[in-house]
Symmetry: D2
Subunit: 162 residues, 4 copies
């Protein structure tokens, strides 16, 4: 079973630019992570864009949609910023494509000591293999269908919408 | 959905004793990990034993069996050393209990910089929620049924036995 | 020999606020660091302020000056943001106080995986014990007197000014 | 000012062999550390040997002695296991060579999350630049002359012998 990870940036891949003193994007950390976690599953990585999800416009979301329409794989993970992950999940969910899509991300960048990035990636890699066709969001150790999930801005955790 | 994690030690929870200069067991790191990965799923932790899986005798395996027979939860993760994880999976698999059991562990202790422990935990937390009744082993980003898995001692990775 | 560390914030102590997605200040990491590095020297910690050194005004610098005038210790480390560390060093150097003062900081926050914070702290703790009376800046494994140092904005490293 | 680091192994450079489940030596981590701590001082690295200091025999200590006799630098750091660091310091101290020698190491391997290795390296890099001719041991944020230091086996810290 082959999996594609479509990378869009988000907190997951944020990097500290020590000259500017800012969190920015430089490259993805996915190859490094997949190596040290000893993942032996065949995984294709695709850098779709590297942006903060607060900056995500419709054009950015269309680029994600195009990527997974073209992808030969039926099981796809999308790394995404948490702030608008639900919006992207909804747009993808409404297209009704016959693939298994899992959106994930992290609240703390991978480059920090106590990040949730590696855990969420593990959750998603197993989730995308076991879930049926459809669009899902995996965060906080839980699986959410695209049409019943929201981010609680006070706690920073994802919850059922209803 | 409530999950129980039965902790048996293994490389996952190994700790460096700086006075003796040895890797030993002191306590489990699971509470700390579940906190920083922002897991909001209800999880019960149970320290069953803290041993190297090379030291696991039948009596040790019976103690694991008793634990999950008594557990009120139907979905159970067992953290276990990788060297004899397959043997324990087989013993549990042959008992035919009607629960979903996932065995996992790590090749590098959690306390090391580049450990696979947090990734494997993420994999197992989603796996145990989505898999049917039965005994499974989750390592290297893959799900293995208990009766078709072995550890490749040369690569340190798990593979289908056949 | 007793040492005081006057904490002023800077990149050294920056913390990731996962709800806002920003680097801010919450508390100092010095107690945690001094514990795991096994430092047995008697050290007094004083949180003077927790700010970005780009925000440092004369009033902020006067507060540092007051702190080390009142301090009973003759050997004092000041943690400080790198952007205006040289300015603060000059202001302190010109006062001509009869103590050994070392300013240090970091280019990458302590909370990141590959930070220079712990190294710079080690450098400064030994530097402040061995240097004579005067004001010094310790960064990049080097000791600089307050009146012959500048930050190279292109490389992010400190150099002799002349 | 140019510095040589003579590497002899010890806990500092211990590596986890995940196939054997043991702490062993593979290579030194010094180049990686010196890079991310942003050290700009000219430093020559020399791998003299990579052993546990409990295995250090007279022949091993003679090899260290030969190395620093041949070294063109006058300021030399030796990374060394803590168990017999004091013995090696005494042997070097009694030779009366006209150089500044600092022995250091760590109680917890660099590859562990909360290691004292990077701190001790920072301490030693400044110590070796500021100390006079002689043999010193730097651990726990303190400088000890070779003839007045011992390791307290209960606490794992170094102390004055008298």
């Amino acid at each position: 079973m082959s999996i594609r990870i479509i990378i869009t940036g988000g907190t997951f891949d944020k990097h500290y630019d020590e000259l500017q003193g800012e969190l920015t994007f430089k490259n993805t950390h996915l190859p490094e992570i997949l190596s040290f976690v000893r993942c032996t599953l065949p995984i294709k990585l695709e850098i779709n864009q590297l942006i903060d999800s607060l900056d995500m416009q419709l054009a950015n979301r269309m680029r994600i949609l195009q990527s997974f329409r073209k992808a030969p794989e039926d099981r796809i993970i999308i790394t995404h910023g948490t702030d608008t992950m639900v919006e992207t999940a909804q747009l993808l969910g409404e297209t009704g494509i016959e693939k298994t899509i899992v959106l994930t991300g992290s609240m703390v960048p991978y480059t920090f000591t106590n990040s949730d990035a590696v855990f969420n990636l593990g959750c998603s890699i197993i989730g995308v293999q076991l879930l049926p066709t459809g669009v899902f969001l995996i965060m906080n150790g839980k699986v959410f269908p695209w049409n019943n999930v929201c981010k609680n801005k006070k706690t920073g955790s994802f919850e059922e919408a209803t």
